[in-house]
């Protein structure tokens, strides 16, 4: 019959016709038509006022709002991560006082709405007009005027960061718990100190379980910053675009402006998350050895993340209330 090509190692390769699937084509056509209608509706409906959208996309107040929102997002995540690692380590300690303090913190900050907490931080200077460092019930060394130290920005940052720490602490705890006990033992048998074991052996391995949900938390935090008007802090993206919208009596185009910026930042964060995950997934069979060698599937890493139960696949999923 036919002579197989000399390069094909399979001499009797099968060349069959696929099963006809008209349903696929019909479904695709319907979706394309619906999408076209939606885009047409968006572009041609004059109420969207694309001219205003375009003008305010690069407005100074809006860009400044983007800056403040980013600052709040990253600032509060940094506070959150540092505190969360501390809380998670306290939670693992054999000191019952540290353990219960950590438990209480998480209970308190996860158990109350972020909105309430932000209002509270906004009112802190009313509650405590002066702050002082000293010995409880004893002498005070330094005293501050609260409203000077804790401005609206710091109140917002603290409010978001302290709340986030409670959520991240649980993620970090799950991450630390996901590392095989044998790892600690092997490190201990080599004479490493507990602190070194945590820093060099346990935390790096916990990271591949911690990073994906923390990425989601960051994306979630980006949007949670829109609640800082509770403090009230009035420079972030949502507040700025709302204010302009109200002033122009054109709320819709300004909502689109803010949605555009949130989407853009989220997209950039998703790219960053991808690379971070790849870095901390090293050694789990998802990449080549540094110089040549065999490849293995990435299933181990995925399985570990799934097993920890802290990751969510949907980056837009709201994890912080």
């Amino acid at each position: 019959m036919t002579t197989a090509s000399s390069t094909d190692p399979v001499p009797n390769r099968i060349h069959a016709r696929p099963v006809p699937r008209p349903g696929r084509w019909i479904a695709a056509a319907i979706v394309v038509v619906l999408a076209a209608m939606a885009i047409h509706g968006l572009v041609t409906n004059p109420k969207f006022r694309w001219d205003i959208v375009w003008a305010y996309l690069r407005d100074v107040t809006v860009i400044r709002g983007v800056g403040w929102t980013l600052l709040l997002t990253f600032g509060s995540m940094v506070i959150g991560v540092v505190l969360a690692v501390l809380l998670a380590i306290m939670r693992r300690s054999d000191n019952p006082v540290l353990r219960s303090v950590s438990w209480f913190y998480i209970w308190l900050f996860r158990g109350t709405p972020i909105y309430t907490q932000l209002v509270f931080w906004g009112l802190i200077s009313v509650l405590y007009p002066t702050l002082s460092l000293g010995i409880p019930f004893g002498p005070e060394f330094v005293t501050f005027q609260t409203d000077v130290v804790i401005t609206a920005f710091w109140a917002a940052l603290l409010g978001l960061g302290l709340n986030e720490a409670a959520y991240l602490a649980e993620i970090v705890r799950a991450g630390l718990g996901s590392v095989d006990k044998g790892q600690e033992e092997a490190a201990r048998a080599l004479g490493m100190k507990e602190r070194t074991i945590l820093r060099r052996i346990v935390i790096p391995q916990a990271m591949r379980v911690i990073v994906p949900p923390t990425g989601n938390e960051t994306i979630s935090m980006l949007k949670t910053t829109s609640l800082v008007l509770a403090v009230p802090f009035t420079l972030d993206l949502t507040y700025a675009t709302n204010a302009i919208g109200n002033r122009l009596f054109e709320p819709i185009p300004l909502l689109i402006v803010s949605a555009f910026w949130y989407l853009l930042i989220t997209s950039i964060l998703m790219v960053g998350q991808h690379y971070l995950e790849r870095y901390y997934g090293r050694g789990t069979g998802s990449e080549k050895p540094r110089r040549g060698g065999p490849r293995r599937p990435r299933s181990g890493r995925q399985a570990a993340i799934k097993a920890s139960g802290t990751a969510k696949d949907d980056p837009f999923l709201e994890v912080t209330p």
């Binding site: 201990r188 490493m192 069979g285 110089r291």
Partner: protein, 258 residues
């Protein structure tokens, strides 16, 4: 035999309880420098527990362990009262005792080379260059010079165990402990690990090996200990304990594994 020298390992009246479970019931064990001691015994007899007590991964409930004459885990004052050592001092003691586990426990986020370098840098404070040179030499010695940049997940079980041995050797230990180092390996990979261990023994390393490899015990051991239910039932030269056991329990066990 160097009868007069300080023993490398000296266990006296070791008792270990896990809650109500009495696992070690008065174990005495002496291992001379350069000696290979193989510990045999049925599952649950306390072999792993004994080995883990030799480097403080478990703390004895009673009795004492001395490594090269130094009391493990405590300082004894002139009145004979024991004071628990600071964790840093215990870590320092452990760094001189190499341990190889049944399930390897290599650090998965580090390459073979980094695994062997890590504790040299973190514990012995060697420079990266010095640690790397030592790691390269040891990986070469265990036959893995072409696998240095592989992560553990990219190595076979036998290769991982050889890296683990190199990792322990990198600390220049005075003694090496092996807890069933070949039990998690496919049969065809057992030989390569045993070969490395034989090489070590020939080089004069003091070793305590828990294993079910009777052939290895017969060939390499200077001293075989048979344990059951937390006590040493019988001990002596392999020719005595393995080939002519006097105790019923030893005979019974050997008839099952041989």
């Amino acid at each position: 035999m160097t009868g007069s020298a300080t023993p490398m390992v000296e266990v006296r009246g070791a008792h270990k309880m896990f809650g109500d479970l009495h696992v070690l019931r008065g174990v005495d064990l002496t291992v001379a420098p350069g000696e290979v001691c193989v510990v045999l015994g049925p599952s649950g007899s306390g072999k792993s527990t004994l080995l883990r007590c030799l480097n403080e991964l478990e703390v004895l409930t009673g009795g004492s362990v001395r490594i090269d004459g130094e009391l493990l885990g405590y300082r004894e004052d002139s009145a004979g009262v024991l004071h628990r050592l600071h964790p840093t001092a215990i870590a320092q003691q452990r760094s001189r005792i190499g341990m190889v586990f049944q399930r390897f426990h290599l650090f998965p986020h580090m390459t073979a080379l980094e695994n062997v370098m890590e504790a040299q840098v973190q514990v012995l404070k060697r420079s990266k260059r010095e640690a790397r040179a030592k790691a390269v030499e040891l990986l070469d010695r265990v036959g893995l010079s072409d696998r240095m940049d592989h992560y553990p997940a990219q190595l076979s079980g036998g290769q991982q165990q050889r890296v683990a041995i190199a990792r322990a050797l990198a600390m220049d230990p005075e003694i090496m402990l092996f807890d069933e180092p070949t039990s998690a390996l496919d049969p065809e990979l057992v030989g390569e690990v045993l070969a490395v261990m034989k090489d070590l023994a020939a080089g004069g390393m003091t070793m305590v090996v828990v294993t079910h490899e009777i052939g290895f015990a017969r060939e390499v051991a200077d001293h075989v200990v048979f344990m059951d239910e937390g006590v040493v039932v019988e001990e002596g030269a392999p020719s005595a304990v393995i080939d002519a056991p006097t105790e019923e329990r030893t005979r019974d066990f050997l008839s099952h594994v041989l």
